[in-house]
């Protein structure tokens, strides 16, 4: 399932969204497979967590249906969107043949951001500086511990897009694997003064065997940016 998270609901957390889905599945009476054990859970797996406050048009989740459940897949987006809060809409559903968790197979994400408190020129200069460098060493927190490492390899593309309402717009593609790079960390690495006025995930990419694809592409968003990866 590919879904969006836009508007006020973006202030809910990844865990909150997981609970919304569980209620939605029960509302439409979609029979899921359950884990075994002392406290069984439905077999639902979410992709990479979206930071609270960020919007997205490229969220994913995998669900495993109960044996014998054969819902009309084409009708699922409409039924589920009606059972989910405003701002969370199912954009597409597809039968997933391959196994493997979304977290493991997605290699990069494309983001659009607005950085508050900066002009386009200043941002462009700063971006050029970072892209020209061989390394970008930052200290950030991971599991409560400060960790220092080079995040330059995680920046696959980065460009200023123009002026926004309260700052400058930029787009970027950031790697997710090994430690990955979060959009807020990228802004901090560009300039500690920068604050994100808005963040939106537009794509999650799977790079494999020289090809690049989305878990479920949408007609309107299919791959024009694919070549831009550096």
């Amino acid at each position: 399932m590919r879904f969006s998270k836009v508007g006020k609901v973006r202030w809910t957390s990844h865990r909150d969204v997981a609970r919304m889905w569980e209620r939605a599945f029960r509302r439409i009476d979609l029979r899921l497979a359950w884990t075994e054990g002392f406290s069984p859970r439905p077999k639902v797996s979410f992709g990479l967590a979206l930071p609270t406050g960020a919007e997205s048009v490229a969220e994913y989740l995998d669900v495993e249906l109960a044996d014998g459940a054969q819902p009309d897949v084409a009708a699922l987006p409409g039924r589920l969107s009606a059972a989910l809060p405003a701002g969370i809409d199912v954009l597409a559903a597809a039968v997933c043949e391959e196994r493997g968790s979304l977290q493991e197979i997605v290699t990069s994400c494309r983001w659009e951001m607005e950085a508050a408190g900066t002009g386009v020129d200043a941002l462009t200069a700063r971006i050029a500086h970072v892209l020209a460098a061989d390394s970008l060493v930052v200290t950030r927190e991971r599991k409560g511990q400060p960790v220092t490492d080079d995040v330059r390899p995680a920046i696959l593309s980065l460009a200023a897009l123009g002026a926004g309402e309260s700052g400058a717009l930029l787009e970027c593609e950031l790697a997710t694997l090994t430690r990955g790079l979060r959009p807020s960390e990228l802004l901090a690495a560009l300039d500690p003064q920068l604050e994100a006025a808005s963040v939106r995930r537009t794509h999650q990419w799977i790079q494999r065997d020289g090809a690049k694809r989305e878990p479920i592409p949408l007609p309107a968003t299919a791959a024009p940016h694919a070549e831009r990866a550096s």
């Binding site: 909150d16 209620r23 509302r27 809060p85 604050e195």
Partner: protein, 642 residues
């Protein structure tokens, strides 16, 4: 009106749990404001995750929004990080539904479920841009009102709240709406505020503190009288009581929050009121008589609610859910309903203590095993007779035996300490009871945990214990220490206790008179919000405020009251005759129990006879079970006088 959302949103990235402020729940309403509609802002003066599930607030939210001449939105106390940003950027308190400023509503209506939220009430009024003291408000300000259990002693908040609604709110909110609608239509002219308040004081159940004159014998002396200033204002305000719960199948659209809250499940109220007669329990005294919802309506509310919300758990709420007539059928119906696919859990709060009850719990546990909690409250039989919680040891052991033999390995027990006539033997009885329960458990499993939670007792208004002098914090701490020592080496017994200092602050706010108003304001002005939260609670704020006002904590909290004393809440009535309460207090001191009047003759407490209503109970016979169920006369023993 314009939404404050564009000014609120930039703050959200900087606060913890931003979802507290967005609304967007399933069931949220977006009413249109206008001159012909009385706009209510229903405020729960604690954090969103505590306030959102409150059923009373949700019931009124729906009833008001169903009216053509009213609308209701909701607000909760912003957490301290959000409050700081709001004050810095001059963003007022707002509704979470359509993000309107609080000051633009006609009424700010507070739900008061606990005394330690009083300072948050002041903070919310202030954040709304409204003067905290009622006397400083003009016609441009909303009316500030409050309802909920704490309003059975409204006096500590008399300086800040324009009017209180005492008792059930279902009917009263409509009466209030009609009066306020006329006020709004008349243009809320200069000087009209006093007139509308006087008009409101004529509504049954409405108490307007400014319409009364209070006299004390000296600035720190006893209360002499509380008398109406005008002949048309009632001397005594009687609570409102709805006669039949079946007429009020609310909430019909229970709010489903998008973020985590307490009691995050479907809640269906199966009855209101309780006549078990536990003498410490304010809820049981002020909500009489018992009014059961019909089995059929409960079933409909459960199945419609589950289907609509997508919850997989329903709580059948009341003050003693196993007492509901036909509880087994209702529970069985839910867990065996094919639509639920055997995956819906049921929780029953406030379980009676006996094997029968555990039988029901075991039926539920086939779906999902949740914790099992019993509340013997007192450590010895004598103590339990004093408080009229008539659970014999055998009932408890039977319940525990039944639990451990059916697969539980953890049982929680709730106790109170600091009860009237309590001796160290009674206190230590708590440890002894917990030890014996663990022993019973070990016959069935090696992994036994019995956790005993001990709370300090706060005497509450409108109960037989309203005359009792509360234990000091030092005495409560001594008792906790006794228990800690007694359970330290006890295998399988875990002791938890409530901070005795918070018990003291609750005691200050519970039985005070109007002189407590400036104390509460003082605590608030010194930053004392969120006093329900241990990380923010600060007893020294309360002690200092009392000292600055020349008021004695000993006099207000620890002193035993006398029969002839005028109590600050005597002019507010829960229907209970004062002589009934006094007799019950004397019976308590004599360790003499009193039966449940649902199944035995009426002893005329006043709740039914005074209002011409009756218990609404589905079954004419008491439920099966131990001494709490059978209605057999319990042995009466002579107790000690304090």
């Amino acid at each position: 009106m314009t939404s404050l959302w564009p000014r609120i949103e930039p703050l959200l990235a900087k606060v913890q749990k931003p979802a507290r402020y967005i609304g967007c729940e399933d069931g949220v309403q977006a009413p249109t404001h206008g001159p012909s509609k009385v706009a209510w802002l229903l405020v729960y003066p604690d954090a969103y995750e505590i306030g959102l599930p409150n059923q009373g607030l949700q019931i009124l939210y729906e009833i008001l929004n169903e009216r053509d001449d009213a609308l209701a939105e909701r607000s909760y106390a912003p957490w301290v990080d959000m409050e700081a940003l709001m004050r810095e950027r001059r963003v007022p308190l707002f509704s979470v539904d359509t993000h309107q400023p609080a000051g633009a509503f006609d009424l700010l209506a507070f739900n008061l479920s606990a005394e330690l939220v009083y300072t948050n009430l002041l903070n919310c009024i202030d954040l709304a841009g409204v003067p905290v003291r009622a006397v400083e408000r003009g016609p441009e300000h909303p009316l500030v009102c409050a309802g909920g259990h704490c309003t059975f002693n409204p006096e500590p908040l008399a300086d800040f709240v324009d009017f209180f609604v005492i008792g059930d709110g279902e009917e009263a909110v409509s009466d209030v709406t009609e009066v306020v609608r006329e006020w709004k239509a008349s243009g809320r002219t200069e000087g009209s505020r006093q007139a509308v308040l006087r008009e409101l004081s004529h509504i049954p159940g409405v108490y307007v503190p400014s319409m009364y004159h209070v006299e004390y014998d000296g600035p720190a002396g006893p209360l002499v009288s509380v008398t109406p200033r005008y002949p048309d204002v009632p001397e005594r305000v009687e609570k409102r009581t709805i006669a039949d719960l079946n007429d009020w199948p609310y909430p019909k659209q229970q709010l489903v929050p998008l973020t985590e809250v307490v009691h995050d499940r479907l809640n269906v109220e199966i009855f209101r009121g309780c006549t078990r007669g536990c003498r410490f329990c304010q809820a049981g005294m002020i909500t009489r008589p018992v009014r059961e919802r019909s089995n059929e309506q409960v079933r409909t509310m459960v199945s419609d609610g589950l289907k609509r919300t997508g919850y997989d758990e329903v709580s059948l709420t009341s003050l003693s859910s196993a007492d509901y007539s036909g509880i087994e059928d209702v529970v069985g119906g839910i867990i065996n309903d094919p639509m639920c696919q055997g995956s819906v859990g049921v929780s029953l709060p406030s379980l009676r203590v006996d094997a029968y009850t555990v039988g029901i719990a075991a039926q539920i546990a086939k779906v999902r095993r949740t914790g099992l909690t019993f509340a013997p409250e007192g450590g010895t039989w004598r103590m339990r007779q004093v408080i009229n919680k008539l659970i014999e040891e055998d009932d408890l052991f039977g319940a525990v035996e039944s639990a451990f033999s059916q697969g539980w390995n953890r049982v929680k027990l709730y106790f109170l300490t600091g009860l009237p006539t309590e001796t160290d033997e009674d206190t230590l009885g708590i440890a002894e009871l917990a030890r014996k329960c663990a022993e019973v458990g070990r016959r069935h499993t090696n992994r036994v945990t019995v956790s005993a939670s001990v709370g300090g007792f706060v005497p509450k208004p409108q109960t037989p214990f309203q005359w009792f002098g509360q234990n000091t914090a030092a005495e409560l701490q001594r008792k906790v220490n006794l228990l800690r020592d007694a359970t330290r080496k006890e295998r399988g017994v875990q002791l938890k206790w409530h901070d005795p200092r918070a018990t003291l602050a609750e005691g200050i706010a519970s039985r005070g008179d109007r002189r407590l108003g400036p104390v509460i304001e003082d605590v608030w002005r010194h930053g004392g919000t969120f006093q329900e939260w241990s990380e923010h609670f600060d007893l020294s704020l309360w002690e200092d405020a009392m000292a600055r006002r020349g008021l004695s904590i000993d006099w207000f909290v620890h002193r035993h009251r006398t029969e002839d004393e005028v109590l600050p809440w005597d002019h507010v009535s829960a229907g209970l005759h004062k002589d009934f309460l006094w007799q019950d207090w004397q019976d308590a001191l004599a360790a003499s129990g009193l039966e449940d009047c649902r199944w035995t003759p009426c002893y005329d407490c006043g709740a039914c006879t005074g209002y011409g209503i009756e218990h609404v109970v589905g079954s004419p016979v008491p439920p099966a079970g131990g001494s709490q169920g059978t209605g057999v006369r319990v042995p009466v023993t002579l107790g000690r006088l304090p």
